[in-house]
């Protein structure tokens, strides 16, 4: 439905968005995820029409809207700071889009009431924005943007200004709302939890480019780049070289000459430099040497950080590089794990099937 074809945006010599290609389908909850300054907001503004791309085209339902002004695009935005009109009541704000389209007053009233109902603000129509809480303002902004029943709703970090709890609650509401209305949502955020919990697909952006675009689980399981792997969840990285690459055996020789095994990987030739990634939650700590189906590295516990549902162990490997291991605390709760002491020497082990190989 929405097609972004090789769009770039430059300000002077600074390239903010670089050759982005994306397709968003009808009724999708699409997320653009990336750190501050990665160009995600600019991409959103390009879609909204506030900016014009330096090159490339944007198509909506096959129609080129690259140079259509924002007020002729069937796309509405929920702004990060909500951008409610402070001089209009809640009703005035929500009705705005209908008023500028000169709908009859009766219809406006009806649809506004309905929209306010939908976002759970029935009865607050006559308030001024300044009299509302952050969460309520957020809902007004949402109702205002939805009232025109746009083809696409753009949301620019809408939850970042809210308290954590309210933000979490809003996530579910947004997802429900999206499912209920069937409107395509494009949601920009730097918060991976938000992205993962709501989106059908996530595009990870870094320095103006889309690094990977995939459903959340896939992103997590098999990140395509080191950046994605690191930004979505966290990951321990090991530089290495492919030692053997066969249909059944696949070995990577790490820098310290340790050979680790993994299940098959297509298109890799021995000798290629690779990065091998392991998520902290994939690792286990053991006093015993790794078994056959496991890989293992030897090291010493440097630090323990208790984070509630888990304990993070920072382990210095014998080759000097650090590794982070996440030990779930349910084991601790059930007293099924021995207490680990700092400076204790342990094995970090993982099953041979785990880990991702990144070519870069």
């Amino acid at each position: 439905m929405l097609e972004i074809q090789g769009v770039s945006k430059q300000y002077g010599s600074a390239v903010v968005v670089r050759q982005v290609r994306l397709q968003v389908g009808q009724g999708e909850f699409f997320c653009i995820l990336g750190p501050s300054g990665c160009g995600k907001t600019t991409l959103l503004r390009l879609i909204a029409g506030f900016e014009r791309p330096t090159e490339g085209r944007i198509l909506l339902d096959g129609v080129d809207i690259t140079h259509t002004p924002p007020y002729r695009r069937d796309v509405n935005t929920v702004f990060q700071n909500y951008a409610l009109f402070p001089h209009c009541t809640v009703f005035g704000n929500v009705a705005y889009g209908l008023q500028v389209r000169r709908r009859p007053a009766g219809e406006i009233r009806e649809r506004v009431d309905q929209a306010l109902e939908t976002v759970g603000l029935a009865g607050l129509a006559d308030r001024m924005p300044a009299q509302l809480s952050g969460g309520q303002q957020q809902r007004v902004a949402l109702a205002r943007a939805l009232i025109n029943r746009p083809r696409i709703l753009l949301l620019d970090e809408p939850l970042s200004a809210l308290d954590k709890k309210i933000g979490e609650q809003m996530r579910y509401e947004l997802a429900d709302l999206q499912a209920k209305t069937g409107i395509t949502f494009i949601y920009v955020t730097h918060n991976q939890v938000e992205a993962m919990s709501m989106a059908g697909r996530v595009a990870v952006m870094n320095r103006g480019s889309v690094e990977q675009c995939a459903p959340p689980a896939e992103l997590y399981r098999s990140p395509a780049t080191r950046f994605t792997a690191d930004f979505v969840g966290s990951m321990n990285f090991f530089d290495g070289r492919i030692a053997e690459a066969g249909p059944d055996s696949f070995g990577i020789l790490l820098a310290d000459q340790t050979l680790v095994h993994r299940r098959g990987e297509a298109g890799a030739r021995p000798g290629d430099p690779v990065v091998f990634g392991l998520r902290p939650e994939q690792l286990k700590v053991s006093l015993l040497e790794p078994r056959d189906f496991e890989n293992g590295l030897f090291g010493r516990i440097e630090r323990q950080v208790f984070v509630g549902d888990a304990t993070l162990l920072r382990i210095r490997l014998s080759n000097g590089s650090p590794v982070e291991v996440r030990v779930p605390n349910y084991l601790v709760l059930e007293n099924r794990v021995m207490a680990l002491e700092p400076d204790e020497e342990v094995w970090v082990v993982w099953s041979q099937g785990s880990g991702v190989v990144l070519h870069d």
Binding site: G49, P70, Y71, N76, A83, H87, Y96, G97
Partner: protein, 617 residues
């Protein structure tokens, strides 16, 4: 606006006795003059500076002064128009500076500050030059242009400050929701700007209302604003009317400020006040428009003359008879009159120059020849005055008045017998002597004292006369032509040059002021009525001149202004004590006496150089 400092001032800083008293002094200094004005507006005296008991008579007199109301109306129109235009321009400026990056943006921003910092007089003369070179008649439009030029940069900067605080995303939200740019401007950008726009507009209105300098240079004689009216009252005859005007202005200001303050207390008042204010403003606009339209239909005649040179009753009757409204515009001296009439379109119909000026003005083509057939009342004039040497054919002028300069002094302060102009060089009266602010009167007198004649055009004589005037200068209070009576009466000076009519006016009420022709003799003058080449309304000018020549009118006019007119029939009708008064009607034996002053030609430049030097040093 509540100060940060003030909120946390338990340290007692900045509230010490010294600061308190000096602030008190400062505020007293600021406010006391205003209080004085208000108090003195209830003064019963016809003198500005002397208190004579409580009275409302000046209120009555001032409020019924039509010229004053016209001036107020003009001020309102000019201020209203320039406030509207400067707000529009200022908004454009602020929006373009506040939200666009474009080439020349910095230049525009810098340019905006220039009219703000440059002395107003520069803008005034620059616009004068512009309008004269473009040959544009000066009036409402030129004044408005001038006011907009100095006020819209202020307005732009004021609105810019607000624009910069606007949330850009609201604008985007509106566009996003489908509103066109214009709709977005109206519904999202304008509402938060409105308070800033209103206060900027009010500010522009105020500074326009208050402006004197730019108005002074860009207006024509037909459009007098309130500050110009006050100026002409201050310059050409102090009257207690100014006190009353000031009091009315202060009262108006206080009412507006208090109303605004009251409105700001809460929202409903604000809405009520807005509606009330809007209604009042609309009514005012309607009134102004009707008044202007009414005046448009009325024929106008602009006469450039000296103060107190036409009797108000005579003018009123002329208007009653013909429907022509006579506007008087005052000049300080013949030089100024020549300057004002010789550039561009002055918008003046009739002038009353001294006879010798006719030669100069005629040569420069400033005067229009008069058609005797349209002036049947010329027959009442003394034939001897019709063809004086400065215009032997009498084409250009109708003689209006004649008189002479004499010595006027306060006999309670100068007690010794007086018979010589030397009194004006008397060391004992240092600082309390007055000479005319008129180049030729000064140099003629100096020549006379030395036994020379100015018309001889002798540079050596001129230098001697100049030396004499230089010697006199430290003794003088001022050079002043128009406030001689006021300054004598107020005790500022004890002796002065004065014209016979002026002197008589004071002398009849206060006989201690004596007037005489000193033994060295004096300068006779004849003032004329001339039609300017550029006159907008010559028909009215003919009607007016003809009307003035009618013996009954001439007699009434003479009695009002106390200057002689060469109209024997009118003189015959005067009461005997005036008819035979030699001060009013100086016996003229030789008509050439009336035109001793002639066009001095290039010699005039020499005189002028010394005059400027005398005044400058």
């Amino acid at each position: 606006m509540a100060g940060q400092l003030s909120r946390r001032n338990d340290l007692g800083l900045g509230q010490g006795a010294f600061l308190r008293y000096s602030t008190g002094l400062c505020l007293f200094f600021l406010v006391a003059p205003l209080v004085v004005l208000v108090v003195y507006s209830f003064n019963g005296s016809s003198q500005v500076t002397v208190w004579e008991g409580f009275s409302l008579k000046w209120f009555a007199a001032t409020i019924s002064d039509r010229e004053l109301w016209i001036a107020i109306r003009n001020s309102m129109i000019v201020a209203g128009l320039s406030a509207l235009i400067s707000t529009a321009l200022g908004t454009l400026t602020a929006l373009s500076l506040g939200r666009y990056v474009f080439r020349g943006r910095r230049i525009l921003a810098g340019l905006l500050y220039v009219p703000v910092v440059l002395p107003e007089i520069i803008l005034g003369i620059a616009l004068l030059v512009l309008f004269v070179l473009l040959d544009i008649q000066r009036g409402f439009l030129t004044v408005v242009c001038g006011h907009v030029t100095f006020s819209f940069p202020f307005v732009g900067l004021m609105i810019l400050a607000r624009v910069q605080t606007l949330d850009r995303t609201q604008e985007e939200a509106s566009l996003d929701l489908g509103a066109s740019p214009w709709r977005t401007f109206r519904r999202v950008i304008l509402p938060p700007l409105t308070p800033a726009l209103l206060s900027a507009m009010l500010f522009a209105f105020t500074i326009s209302l208050d402006d004197f300098v730019v108005t002074f240079f860009t207006t024509g004689p037909g459009v007098t604003t309130l500050p110009l009216k006050v100026y002409s009252l201050v310059k050409f005859g102090l009257t207690p009317a100014i006190n009353v005007i000031s009091t009315l202005m202060i009262a108006f200001t206080l009412v507006v400020l208090l109303a605004v303050n009251w409105m700001q207390e809460d929202g409903t008042r604000q809405r009520l006040g807005m509606r009330l204010g809007g209604g009042l403003a609309a009514a005012l606009v309607l009134l102004l428009v009707m008044s202007v339209l009414g005046e448009r239909r009325q024929s106008r005649l602009v006469v450039a003359t000296w103060p107190n040179y036409f009797d108000q009753g005579v003018l009123d009757e002329f208007e009653a008879r013909t429907g022509i409204h006579v506007i008087l515009s005052y000049f300080n001296d013949n030089e100024e009159m020549l300057a004002k009439t010789s550039f561009g379109k002055p918008g003046i119909d009739l002038v009353t120059p001294a006879g010798f000026m006719i030669e100069i003005m005629g040569k420069q083509g400033l005067l229009s020849p008069l058609d005797p057939d349209r002036l049947p009342n010329l027959r009442y004039l003394d034939e001897r005055f019709r063809r004086l040497p400065f215009d032997p054919t009498g084409r250009y002028y109708v003689p209006y008045t004649y008189g002479f300069t004499g010595l006027f002094y306060d006999s309670t302060k100068v007690t010794e017998p007086v018979d010589s102009w030397r009194l004006l060089w008397d060391e004992r009266y240092r600082g309390r002597l007055l000479m005319f602010d008129d180049m030729l009167e000064n140099f003629d007198l100096a020549h006379r004292l030395l036994g020379f004649r100015l018309v001889d055009r002798d540079t050596a004589h001129l230098d001697a006369a100049f030396a004499l005037l230089q010697q006199q200068r430290p003794l003088l209070r001022k050079h002043e032509s128009n406030l001689v009576n006021e300054m004598l009466l107020g005790g500022e000076v004890v002796a002065a040059q004065n014209w016979n009519g002026n002197a008589m006016r004071l002398n009849r009420k206060h006989p201690q002021f004596k007037f005489l022709i000193p033994k060295e003799g004096t300068l006779l003058f004849v003032d004329t009525l001339c039609l300017l080449q550029t006159a907008p309304n010559p028909a009215a000018a003919y009607a007016f001149v003809n009307y003035l020549l009618e013996p009954a009118n001439a007699q009434r006019n003479m009695q009002g202004i106390l200057y002689a007119m060469p109209n024997p029939e009118a003189r015959r009708r005067m009461p005997p004590e005036l008819r035979d008064d030699t001060t009013l009607f100086p016996p003229i034996t030789d008509m050439s006496q009336l035109s001793v002053m002639a066009d001095l030609g290039p010699f005039l430049q020499e005189v002028r150089k010394r005059w400027i030097r005398l005044k400058t040093e």
